[in-house]
Every structure is written in structure tokens, then in C-alpha cells.
């Protein structure tokens, strides 16, 4: 073997050993290493012949066995191999740090957008998605009566209904009945008597919910019915109010003067609301068992809510079937088969059904906002990537892994998304607090709404997701950019593909904004309409309060009636009060009773039972009620202090128009049960449930002993004199006046009627504020996108525009040329948005009042407003055209 042969063999051996190193290291260093080995081998041959060369071979083997796998495990220059995330992150971070304004703008946008989304997500999640805080909440149902023979589909159950449901077995594991009252609480410890909420329940309620008392014991199954000891379980909140001592167990509290022994305190996190036949679900402070057995109650009167627990995992249809079967049995036995039906509604669905449409709309608006945000971020990142196109192209030409380029771009976007997500989560903790303050007090599960870390993480994850998706656009574009096209287009910076992509994204943004803006405008319009609705009473001047009357101190109707008289006189004597009245309930409080009623002999009768026997709302009031609330008297008169012989009633406009279209209502005699009452007057229709829809016809009775309706505890209304004192300022004097009559009377719910009105609209206000904010945000984002497009276009076409101007084009015509580009994008966006508007209209229809989802005025206003903002966003950057000096511009090229 010649020396040359030895060296050739050595080189072959070294190249073989090189295979132990990873490919990219070999590419980088391989040739130099082979040379170094060959140099070593050559020197060894000179020094000590072939034996020494063999030594070099062996040491090279040792070296390669150690360093080859070593380099694979611990690469010296990892990033070139597409594995060093840390380094890429650092680089992306540095790049971002070099343009703080860009970061601030993007992160700010994301913070606001994601923050708003997080707030809505929190509300929707807690109200619609989170499970009820009971054991196996999916097996819980509320049961209602449907009186098919007149228009009343959601009535309370009667006692016998619950007794039969409990007997049914099968799919029905257990049923609890309950009823809510508001007695006055007093204790031996003294302190002012207060009105609290009491739930009268069957003793199985807590077992059925899966709740055990925090201290003390649950009701025993037989602790119900007449002549049983009076025992009570109180909530943790009430326990704290009463001192929070363990000694509460076995002590007595008095409800309306009757003693009850406290046997248990519920856990702190116990939350329970009883769904109502009408109106909002309500909770209670104290729970006591029934003193009557369900089966012994009058089947004709419905007054109980029934909570049913099905056997675990029973499908809802089976439960429905079982309930309906009981309903048929009860109908036949107790109601002469007139058609009474029982039906069950899943507990959660029943609770949230009233707010579901608003929540769905808000949720969708939130998703839309995210989409706008996503497109916006993508547009901006694309613009930024354009500045780096040379860098991308060069690194690609130098053989950089396309994946590495994608990763570098996406990482930057991801980082922005995460920053925005963290900002959004922080903003949301604050926003949620503000929102809960604004939310209607009867929004189901309001206590549940608090921002937590789960949601925070979700928001950060969504931010990261948005960043990833938005970064994909520039990344894909970066991969496609190659050196050739770039070299070819040095004269006109910016490749056509990128511009097309950006334009497309702006069009999408405009389209999304149109949809969101339309929804926002419609909801806001509907809300402003509600604000100007005439509720049928004068909210401005009325202060209201509730005064429960304990039965122990005022044992009969005459005593209570005398008290009412003294209260009315004392309240009327308060300086600044111009009228005083009282009744079972107040407008917008859903506190009336319902019954079906006929007006025999009325000219408006048609002979159809459905028309002539309507369901009506009725309640009893004291003289002065209509005057104090400013309810207009349209015909006849209302109740006077002097009680006339015979029964009197007042009806509302709705019933008068329906039954006495000729205006002959006053004087008509109407049978009420076994009695007959004379219509003495007609008043305006008062909104009893909510502002946005007329309720049933209304009948008012006199609240007096021996009349058809006499309640002890009443809601009082005092009207402030027109010019003297705002109603809220009367509160202290009014409370003092009540105490002067009897210091042991509790006063509660002191509120102005304006507050009651405001609360009844708070859900709509919340939706309106949120959705308006969303749509304005979307508009702003779209305007930003347009601004960027037009500004970029002016810069890119500088040369062309300069030539045009050098050829004699007016500034105005060049300006129009640039503006036309923006206008075209807006017009396209609006066109694409139109079908979206139609679909969105159908979705939000449920929350709109008095506004058609396709209201032409709103749609036109949105289109014009968007057009104006968009054109302004185009005009500002387009004005740069005016600064082009053709001579200078052309010489620069």
C-alpha cells in the first residue's frame, strides 16, 4: 500500500466516522474536521510510520464515538437544527422589544378585547354553563301546573299534587314542596325587628338537595304536620347576623311573634333559590317545615313550588312521562278532568330560561369580537412581516428550514397573544367586579359570578390561540417569499400576494364589524325605547317601603286594619309628602295574584270561553294607592276612605277596553266568587312584571276586613310633593313615622320607585352597554385596519403617484384614486356583511323590544356611520399624497 493509498484510506475512515455526528453539524464542520484528521495522520506517518497512523485512526474512533453522539445529545448550536425554542423566544422577544409602540398597540387591543370577552365569558359560564351547587343537579326538576282550560301555563302546585308525586315512585325518587313568605324576625337578644324571607318546606328538602347542616341537624322526616314542635334551620348568613354563636342551636327566634327553635345552620356556600310561577327565583334566610300535610291541603288552590329529584340518570322524557301520569290522576280525582296538566322542567333550564336569550346574544357578540380581534392582529402582523421580507428571503435562500422561519414568526405572534391574554385576564378581574355591580339583582346565580383562575387561564389560552392563528398568515406568506421574487421587486416593495391577503383581511373585518355594529345598534335602540316606555305610573316622585304586620301583636283583621289607618295618617303628616297609599304589591314587583274571571252582561263578551274568561292579575289596595303612584284614573273614581256598602272594584284600561268598549264599565256588577262587586272606576294599565310588555288585565280590590282581599303586611307608597323633596330624602322621616306608630314594626325595602324601575331594566342595560362596547371596539379595529391598508398603499405607490402628478394630475384626483381603494374595500365588506346581518337579526330577535331586527332606519344608520368612520380612516393616511413632491420623489428612485 502506497503512502497515498494510506492517506486515501485514512480520509475514507474519517469520513465514515463523521457519520456519528448529526447531519447539520457535519454539513457545517465536516470538511474542516476531515482535513484536521488527515493533517494529524500525515504528521503521524512522517513521525512514526504506519503504526502511528493506526494510532491516529484509533484515537479518531474514540473521539468520534464520544463526540458524535455527544453532539446529537447536546448540540452546540441548537437553533440551526430547529430545536431551540428558548433561543427563538429570546430573539422574538428582542424583536418585539425593539418596537414598543407596535407591541403596546397590539397588546392594548388584545387586552381590551380579551378583557371584554373574559367578562362576558365569566357571566355566561357562571349563569349558563356552571352546574348548580347541588348534588347531581341534572336530576333536579321543577314541576308546574298547566291550566289548559284558560291561559295559564305555569301555575303553582297544590298540596295534593305533591303528595301524589311523592307516592308515584318509579322515575321519581323524591319531591319537596315549598312556599316563600316574608315574616318579621325578632329575637330575645333585642335589636330592631327585621323582615326576612322564610321558606316553608317539606322536611326532605335538604336531603333531596344533598345538603347537610353545617352545625346542628336536618329536619326529621316526621317533623311536619299539625301539632309538631316548631323547628327552624337558618342560613349561614342569618346565623352570622344573629351573632354567629354555636349557642344558637336550641335557642328561639320569633317569626311574626311565633317562637321557632333553631335546630341547624346551613353551610356557608349553600345557595338555594326557589323558582317562581311568575317573576324571579328567590332565596330565603330561614327554613321551617309545613304545619299541614300536603294531602290535606285544598287541591283547588295552587301555592307551592315543587322540586323533584329523579332516579339518577333517568332520561328527561321518562321523568316527564311520570309527572304527566300523576297529573292525569290528579286531574281526574281533584279537578273533574277539566284538563289540569303537570309538567317538569329541568332545574337549571328553568332558572336561566328568562336570561338565556340575552346571554346567548352576549356570548355570540363576544365570539364575534374575538374574530375581529383575530383578523386585526393578523393584518398588523402581516404588515410587520412585510418589513422583514428581505430577511426572510435571504435566510430562506441560505437554506434556512422553512419551518424555522414559520416558527420565528408564529412565536412572535404567540408571545403577543399571551401578553394580551394576561392583560385581558387582569382587566377582566376588574371588569367583572364592575359588571356584577351593574347586573340585575335577580340575575340567576349572581353570587356565583366571580372571576377565577380557571377563566384567567382560559383567556390566556384564547389569547395564545389568537396569536397562533393570526401569526399563521404572515408565516405562510414568509415561507412563500423567495429571494428571486424579492430581487425582482426591489423597485416596488411589497409583493402582490401580501397586499391581496391584507385587503382580504380588511374586507373580512369590515364585514364582521357590520354584523356586530348592527346587533349593537339594535340592542341599544331597543333599550332606549324601553327607557321611554310609559310604565303606567309616575316613578319620579314615589318612595316605597314594606311594613310587615306581626300576627301576635295584631291578631285579627280589624286590629291590622286600624294599624293601617294610623300608619297612613302618620305618613301623610310627614312634611313634603303629598299622597300616601298601600297595597299588596307594587308595580314591576310581580306580587299580584291570578285568577280567571268573567264579566257577565258586558257588551264586549263574544261567547268564546277563551275570550270571556281570561286570566287576570288582582290585588287589594288602600285608598290613595293610585294617587300616590300617579296612576291615571280614566273613568269613575277609586277607593275612598269611607267604606260604602257592598263590594267595590277598580279595573284597568285593558279589561275596560276588552269588555266595555262603549265606556259603560263604571257601575257594572261583577260576580266575584259568591259575592258581587261593583266597578267604581277604570285606571290606566300598570306594568306589574316588566317594563317591556303589557301583562294581563288587572282588577283592584279594597284591602279591608270583610272585603274580598285583606292582607296584613302591605307595601306602602308615599309621594313627595312636586317641588319640595326628592323621594329618597324622605326615607328617614318615613321610617321614623312608622316607628312612631309602633316601634316594633319592621321596615324593609325602602326604595324609590325610580330604583325599582331601574332594576327592572338592569338586564337590558347590561346587554346594551356590553354589546355597544363590543361593536364600537370592532369598528375601531376595522378603522385601524383600513388606515394601515391605505397608509401602506400610499407608501408603496409613491413612485406611481409621483409620476401621475408630474404628468399633470391634480392633487384632488390623486387623492380620490387612493380613497377609491379604501372605499372599494368598505363596500365589499358591507356587502359581504349583509347576510350576516340577516342571520344575526334572527338570533337577537328574542332580546329586542319594539324594534324589528331588520329595522331599516337602524341598518341605514349603521351603514352610513360605518362608511363615515371608514372613510375618515382612509382619508387621514391618504392625505399624505398631498405631500408628495413629484420632482423630489422621482429623483429619489
Amino acid at each position: 500500500v502506497t503512502d497515498v493509498g494510506v492517506m486515501t484510506a485514512s480520509e475514507r475512515w474519517f469520513r465514515l466516522l463523521l457519520r456519528l455526528y448529526p447531519q447539520d453539524f457535519r454539513d457545517d464542520m465536516g470538511e474542516a474536521m476531515v482535513e484536521a484528521y488527515v493533517d494529524r495522520a500525515r504528521e503521524a506517518r512522517v513521525r512514526g510510520g504506519r503504526a502511528s497512523v493506526a494510532g491516529v485512526w484509533f484515537s479518531a474512533l474514540k473521539d468520534s464515538l464520544r463526540n458524535g453522539p455527544g453532539e446529537r445529545a447536546q448540540p452546540a448550536a441548537r437553533w440551526r437544527r430547529g430545536g431551540n425554542w428558548g433561543r427563538d423566544t429570546e430573539l422574538a422577544f428582542r424583536r418585539l422589544a425593539r418596537s414598543p409602540l407596535f407591541v403596546l398597540m397590539l397588546a392594548g387591543t388584545l387586552t381590551v378585547g380579551l378583557g371584554a370577552f373574559a367578562v362576558v365569558y365569566t357571566v355566561v359560564d357562571r349563569v349558563l354553563l356552571a352546574p348548580l351547587p347541588y348534588e347531581d343537579p341534572d336530576d333536579l326538576y321543577w314541576v308546574w301546573r298547566n291550566y289548559t282550560w284558560f291561559d295559564f301555563e305555569r301555575g303553582w302546585l297544590g298540596g295534593p299534587d305533591i303528595a301524589e308525586l311523592r307516592n308515584a315512585g318509579g322515575a321519581i325518587r323524591d319531591v319537596a314542596g315549598m312556599q316563600r313568605t316574608q315574616p318579621t324576625l325578632s329575637t330575645d337578644a333585642g335589636g330592631e325587628p327585621v323582615q326576612i324571607a322564610q321558606m316553608i318546606v317539606s322536611p326532605n328538602l335538604f336531603g333531596l338537595l344533598g345538603v347537610r347542616p353545617f352545625i346542628g341537624r336536618d329536619f326529621a322526616p316526621d317533623e311536619t304536620g299539625p301539632d309538631r314542635p316548631q323547628v327552624a334551620i337558618i342560613t349561614h348568613g342569618l346565623w352570622q347576623r344573629l351573632g354567629g354563636e354555636r349557642s344558637i342551636l336550641g335557642s328561639e327566634i320569633r317569626l311574626n311573634g311565633n317562637p321557632w327553635e333553631v335546630i341547624g345552620v346551613l353551610p356557608r356556600d349553600f345557595q338555594f333559590v326557589r323558582n317562581a310561577s311568575l317573576g324571579p327565583a328567590q332565596g330565603a334566610d330561614v327554613f321551617v317545615p309545613y304545619q299541614t300535610h300536603f294531602a290535606e291541603m285544598n287541591p283547588g288552590s295552587g301555592s307551592l313550588a315543587g322540586l323533584l329529584r329523579a332516579e339518577p340518570g333517568t332520561p328527561p322524557e321518562r321523568v316527564q312521562e311520570a309527572v304527566a301520569t300523576v297529573g292525569r290522576y290528579v286531574d281526574e280525582r281533584d279537578h273533574d278532568s277539566r284538563g289540569l296538566q303537570l309538567y317538569a322542567v329541568s332545574a337549571k333550564e328553568d332558572l336561566i330560561a328568562p336570561v338565556r336569550p340575552a346571554m346567548v346574544v352576549l356570548g355570540l357578540a363576544g365570539v364575534f369580537l374575538l374574530l375581529v380581534l383575530l383578523v386585526n392582529l393578523g393584518t398588523l402582523l402581516l404588515a410587520r412581516a412585510a418589513q422583514r421580507e428581505q430577511e426572510f428571503a435571504v435566510s430562506r435562500a441560505l437554506g434556512a428550514n422553512p419551518l424555522a422561519v414559520v416558527r420565528a414568526t408564529v412565536l412572535e405572534a404567540l408571545m403577543l397573544g399571551v401578553i394580551g391574554g394576561i392583560g385581558g385576564a387582569l382587566a377582566a378581574t376588574w371588569g367583572t367586579r364592575v359588571l356584577v355591580g351593574m347586573a340585575p339583582a335577580d340575575l340567576p346565580r349572581l353570587d356565583n359570578i366571580a372571576f377565577d383562575w380557571n377563566i384567567g387561564l382560559t383567556v390566556v389560552a384564547i389569547g395564545a390561540g389568537i396569536g397562533l392563528l393570526a401569526g399563521l398568515a404572515p408565516a405562510l406568506w414568509a415561507v412563500r417569499t423567495d429571494l428571486g421574487t424579492l430581487m425582482g421587486s426591489t423597485r416596488q416593495r411589497g409583493s402582490g400576494g401580501r397586499v391581496r391577503m391584507r385587503r382580504g383581511m380588511v374586507v373580512v373585518q369590515v364585514a364582521l364589524s357590520v354584523v356586530l355594529l348592527t346587533a349593537g345598534a339594535l340592542v341599544v335602540r331597543s333599550f332606549s325605547g324601553l327607557l321611554s316606555v310609559d310604565p303606567g305610573f309616575d316613578a319620579e316622585r314615589a318612595l316605597t317601603l314594606t311594613v310587615p304586620v306581626p300576627g301576635t301583636r295584631y291578631p285579627d283583621a280589624d286590629a291590622a286594619y286600624a294599624l293601617h289607618g294610623r300608619l297612613q295618617a302618620e305618613l301623610a303628616a310627614v312634611p313634603g309628602v303629598s299622597a300616601v297609599g298601600a297595597g299588596w304589591t307594587l308595580p314591576l314587583s310581580a306580587g299580584s295574584s291570578q285568577t280567571s274571571m268573567r264579566f257577565p252582561g258586558a257588551p264586549g263578551n263574544t261567547g268564546s270561553d277563551e275570550h270571556d274568561n281570561p286570566m287576570i292579575d288582582y290585588y287589594a289596595v288602600r285608598p290613595g294607592y293610585f294617587e300616590a303612584l300617579g296612576i291615571r284614573v280614566l273613568d269613575g273614581a277609586t277607593f275612598r276612605d269611607a267604606v260604602a256598602p257592598g263590594f267595590e272594584m277598580v279595573i284597568d284600561r285593558t279589561l275596560a277596553e276588552k269588555f266595555y268598549p262603549d265606556g259603560t264599565a263604571v257601575g257594572a256588577m261583577i260576580p266575584l266568587g259568591d259575592e258581587t262587586a261593583r266597578i267604581i272606576g277604570v285606571v290606566d294599565h300598570v306594568r306589574l312584571y316588566d317594563v317591556h310588555q303589557d301583562g294581563r288585565g288587572q282588577v283592584f280590590l279594597r284591602n279591608a276586613p270583610g272585603s274580598l282581599g285583606m292582607a296584613y303586611g302591605l307595601s306602602w307608597v308615599v309621594q313627595s310633593e312636586r317641588t319640595r323633596r326628592a323621594p329618597a330624602l324622605l326615607a328617614a322621616d318615613v321610617t321614623a313615622a312608622v316607628r312612631r306608630v309602633d316601634p316594633e314594626l319592621a321596615v324593609s325595602n325602602v326604595r324609590t320607585m325610580s330604583e325599582v324601575l331601574g332594576e327592572s331594566l338592569s338586564e337590558q342595560r347590561l346587554s346594551a352597554v356590553l354589546i355597544a362596547g363590543f361593536s364600537l371596539g370592532a369598528l375601531l379595529l376595522a378603522a385601524m385596519g383600513l388606515y394601515g391598508i391605505v397608509a401602506g398603499s400610499v407608501t408603496r405607490r409613491r413612485h406611481e403617484l409621483a409620476i401621475r402628478m408630474a404628468m399633470g394630475a391634480e392633487h384632488g384626483s390623486v387623492l380620490r384614486l387612493v380613497l377609491r381603494e379604501g372605499a372599494l374595500l368598505v363596500a365589499l365588506g358591507v356587502l359581504i356583511g349583509v347576510p350576516g346581518v340577516l342571520v344575526a337579526g334572527r338570533v337577537i330577535e328574542g332580546v329586542l323590544v319594539g324594534v324589528s331586527p331588520h329595522d331599516p332606519a337602524t341598518l341605514t344608520a349603521v351603514a352610513l356611520g360605518l362608511w363615515a368612520v371608514a372613510m375618515a380612516a382612509c382619508y387621514v393616511p391618504a392625505r399624505r399624497v398631498l405631500r408628495i413632491e413629484p420632482g423630489i420623489s422621482l429623483r429619489q428612485e
Binding site: A32, M33, R40
Partner: protein
């Protein structure tokens, strides 16, 4: 490159092969085998293996202490294919810091009687 802001002391101690690379390049640009020969001339024991050396070179380039030199010294003009390396200011700082550290250790060893004064 990206690590330049870190204080050179924070990178210490260096591996012997890294110190030899910086030491050689401090006197002029070298290719890899030149560095090995320098180390041999200094009486380094053991002399760095080729694989060890080139991995260290890649690492130091990555750290931004050295860089690939674009032009080779005139003396080596005949050798077209070789990769030459040049020390960067950061590399020089690190090398000086390492030398100071070693010196301090040596002084301490003498003071402690582990080395005779004057011995190298």
C-alpha cells in the same frame, strides 16, 4: 450575538478546550487544526481531540465569542478550503477573565505551599 450583555465572569470557569481556542485566536486568526497545534506547542495535556475542538468551536460561535473569519492570513494563502476563526471582543474579555481567575488560583496555591514560588 445574543449573549454579549452577560458579564464575562458569569461564563467561568471555561473548559480547557475553550480556553485553548480563545488563547490561540487572541494572537491571530487560526483554522481548527492550527489551534490543536498551538495547544500541542503549549504542552497541553491532553491535546484536545478534533471532534471536541470542533464542537467547542461551534459552541463559541454560538455564544458570540468567536466568529468565522472571512479572509485567511496571507501566510496560509495556499490552503483554500480551511475555515478560519477570529476572536470577538466578548471572547477576549472572557479569556482575560479566565486568565485572571487561573492566576488568582495559582497565587493561592503558592501561598498555600502547593506550588514552589517561581515554578510554572
Amino acid at each position: 450575538m445574543d449573549r454579549r450583555r452577560r458579564r464575562p465572569e458569569s461564563r467561568l470557569p471555561l473548559r480547557p478546550v475553550e480556553f485553548h481556542i480563545l488563547l490561540s485566536l487572541a494572537t491571530g486568526d487560526r483554522h481548527g487544526y492550527g489551534i490543536i497545534r498551538d495547544a500541542e506547542a503549549r504542552g497541553a495535556a491532553p491535546v484536545p481531540d478534533v471532534g471536541t475542538l470542533y464542537r467547542a468551536l461551534a459552541r463559541l460561535v454560538e455564544h458570540g465569542w468567536i466568529e468565522a473569519a472571512e479572509r485567511r492570513p496571507a501566510a496560509d494563502a495556499g490552503d483554500e478550503r480551511r475555515n478560519y476563526y477570529r476572536i470577538r471582543p466578548l471572547g477576549l474579555q472572557v479569556a482575560r477573565a479566565e486568565a485572571r481567575r487561573l492566576e488568582a488560583l495559582t497565587r493561592a496555591a503558592r501561598a498555600g505551599g502547593l506550588l514552589r514560588a517561581g515554578a510554572s
